[in-house]
């Protein structure tokens, strides 16, 4: 049970406070309600590039990291398709340093030309390191384009292509900032060895006079229901064939989300999951196989990915996946298997909640979903899922008309084992 208090400043900034006196540290987490889905399709990768620029100095403070490190703190940030999250941890005595730094960069950035020039290069190297210079690195680039025709989930957070990042201009950066990085589009969570009164005073002092900004009205083009199966084959310089299958699934706030999440565990959650046991251990068609989803806020993708054992025909491998899916479509899972994935979920949540940093991040995320309190009721929703609901979901979601299949094949001449 995570206890917290909530208040809102007059400029619209939501503040959640989660005191925990068992630690000498404090965590300050600022979530901005903007992600890659909010980008212009001609300027993808911008939300993430912007995250880098948030460390390039703000209007009154030339450098973000240095004063934080002097105060004994450390920090990081991440961008997803849905949101951008910044967090730092420092000794609780120095909490005000974090308020000073975070509020100044919410007030305004320095918009330094040098910072933009350098971070464009850094992000291009990040792009190369993770998505170009790695075997199978372009899979999600291809899969998103295949599965989405309309919704901005069709590009990755890092961006569609390098030129989108290389061509980013300072004017674009400013526009993006004043549109999205405003108090009314942000959630501040302060956790650790702090008191609500102290946080209230600090929040008023440092964030209170920042202009509210205009609330961002999100109206993203929604993905139409897919009505026929899509397939694509690519050849790459990789040692092993691989298969990726996705199905459109419900959004994070849909009632069926919990059944979908448990279903992904039944299929691919660890060494006793169905796909691993049947296809890696018994039939030995795959050297590895996984089932997962991204928990996207808008309707996302339910995914199975597998690396084939060398020499196995990909048609046979795909048929074996389908046979496992048939079992789920034809028959409800038994109670023990359902209980197993529920128990795993309970334990994952308990371990996640051990660190005050994770608790702060989760609170911000659930507040974005509508209410930080959801964090405390989440597991009940998993516990309430029935075998029939999972059965129904498997039948509705795992249809071929709703599926996208990518055969990612080793090109002739690629080195093999």
């Amino acid at each position: 049970m995570v206890k917290f208090e909530r208040f809102r400043l007059s400029n619209g900034l939501k503040v959640l406070v989660h005191p925990d006196t068992s630690t000498p540290m404090a965590v300050v987490n600022v979530l901005y309600d903007v992600g890659a889905r909010d980008e212009d399709e001609k300027q993808t990768g911008f939300a993430h590039l912007f995250e880098h620029l948030m460390f390039g100095g703000s209007v009154n403070i030339p450098d973000y990291d240095e004063p934080l490190q002097v105060a004994g703190g450390e920090n990081n940030a991440y961008t997803t398709n849905d949101l951008t999250n910044y967090y730092c941890q420092l000794p609780a005595d120095n909490l005000e340093t974090a308020f000073w730094l975070e509020s100044d960069r919410m007030l305004s950035l320095a918009f330094s030309k040098k910072s933009l020039d350098v971070q464009r290069k850094v992000v291009c190297e990040e792009f190369r390191e993770h998505y170009i210079n790695k075997p199978y690195g372009d899979v999600w680039h291809i899969m998103r384009e295949l599965a989405y025709t309309t919704h901005p989930y069709r590009w990755m957070t890092i961006g569609k292509e390098l030129p989108h990042i290389e061509n980013a201009q300072l004017e674009d950066v400013k526009r993006f900032f004043f549109k999205h990085y405003t108090p009314c589009n942000a959630i501040l969570v302060v956790a650790g060895n702090v008191t609500v009164e102290h946080v209230k005073a600090l929040a008023e002092k440092w964030f209170g006079d920042i202009p509210a900004g205009t609330p961002y009205q999100r109206s993203l083009p929604q993905e139409p229901a897919q009505t026929s199966e899509r397939r694509l084959t690519v050849h790459r310089n990789v040692p092993m064939d691989a298969i990726y299958k996705t199905w459109h699934m419900c959004s994070r706030m849909d009632d069926r989300y919990y059944a979908a999440d448990l279903l992904s565990d039944i299929l691919g959650g660890g060494a006793s999951s169905r796909l691993y046991q049947a296809l890696v251990k018994e039939q030995q068609l795959f050297s590895g196989i996984n089932c997962y989803h991204f928990g996207s806020l808008d309707a996302g993708l339910f995914t199975i990915e597998g690396q084939l054992v060398q020499g196995v025909d990909i048609r046979q491998a795909e048929a074996a996946i389908e046979a496992e899916l048939d079992k789920l479509r034809n028959q409800p899972v038994d109670e023990r298997e359902l209980q197993k994935v529920q128990n795993k979920t309970e334990s994952v949540m308990a371990f996640e909640d051990m660190s005050v940093m994770n608790r702060a991040g989760s609170l911000a995320f659930y507040e974005l979903l509508g209410d930080g309190e959801l964090m405390n009721t989440e597991f009940d929703k998993y516990r309430a899922v029935t075998a029939d609901q999972i059965h129904q979901l498997a039948q509705d979601m795992l249809q071929s008309a709703n599926s996208n299949t990518l055969w990612y094949l080793s090109e002739p001449g690629a080195t093999t084992t």
Binding site: D20, P24, M25, I61, D65, E66, P67, Q69, V70, A71, G72, E74, P91, D93, N94, E96, T97, F99, W100, S103, D104, V118, R120, K121, V122, E125, R128, E129, I132, N133, K134, P135, K205, D209, N237, V238, P239, M240, G270, A271, S272, V280, K281, Q284, S287, G288, V309, K340, N343, K344, T345, E346, S347, A350, F351, D353, M354, S355, T415, T417
Partner: protein, 426 residues
Amino acid sequence: MPDRKSAPQIKDAVDYAIQLKHPEILQLKNKTDLYKVQAGTEEVVQIEWVFKAGNWYEQQNNVAAAANFLIKNGTSTRSAYDINEYVDFYGAYLNRSCYNETAVVTLHCLTRQLHSLLPLVQEIFTDAVLPEEELHIFRQNMKQKLAVNLKKCDFVAGRKIDALLFGDKHPYGIYSEMPDYDALEIETLRRFYAQYYQHGHCTIFAAGIFPADFDSLMETHFGSLPFNQSAPSEPAHLLQPAEQKKWNILNDTDGVQGAIRIARHFPNRHHPDFPGVQVLNTLFGGFFGSRLMNNIREDKGYTYGIYSYLQNHIHGGAWIISTEAGREVCEATVKEVYYEMQQLRDGDIDAEELLLVKNYLIGTLLGDLDGPFHIIGRWKNLVLNGLDISFFNHSVDTIKNIQAEELRVLANRYLNPDDFYELTVI
């Protein structure tokens, strides 16, 4: 209006007293030491069984790793699936990992499930059968994984630099080739299991919130096993560093980045320079605000990230600088690394920079000692390296008190380009 131009008052992190909570130490009847840290807010536990069963003790490549992997893949009464299903059903994680000197089996679970899980852990230490079929699957999957990894410049560079430093026959430098997996035989693995696990040398580290009968549970399940009956014979391994210092390897003609490793030998934690070099390393390349990061990422934009670190083995280690940089700026990156070494040898470290590093290190340490798993992790490190709390306290004192001049002496002692291997893999 707050004064946004000036930083709020801070308490210097170096003014914090840092204390590492002591574990409770028990010895089971069979002389197995059990270190316990009872702490935390969640009803969870972590238990690690550490065996002297790393690749230091093997006579054939990958035997230690394979035995470690197969240990939970079947007993005389349960299949690998039975074991996995059982562990998953209780929402637990039973992992194993193999290192150079040690091999570890780790259990994470909710406190209330511990009673159901310990008998299974006991079973895999007494009755693992290491099925032939499981070895076949392991071999096949590891070879495929290796084939994929060999496409990655960072993977190739990581294993090559170890081989250059220690020699490719030494446990710290040896790496896997496809035929090594083919050569594995089940009987060799079973012998290794019998010698180094069943009758091996075991130490247990536990942390979290324990059930009331924890001590007797541990005694019941592990106190009568034939552990620690004799000290394992310590094999001697010859260091065979490469003679050639500079290496350029073209692994992928289409590669758009190069993996750079610049490395030298560095003594183990018992060396008197170790704590000071930890501070010097932090300043040099050990954190996001380091000189390497500021110069090569934040000023030049050559890389997504660059770090230096001390690679710590029990018997000795290395000091390594590691990055992936754009193919056309690899040379420039290497040059800047040497430039930063020179700056540390000849230039000044001003008081502000040094205080920043000290505050950062102490602040991180404060955060790091937060929670039972981190605390036991520190103790595990001390115990396995033959150190005690005085090493930890001395490290903290060093961070708080070391002076710029001492760091410059250390830089002159250790940061000389001639002592470094230099490797770029594209």
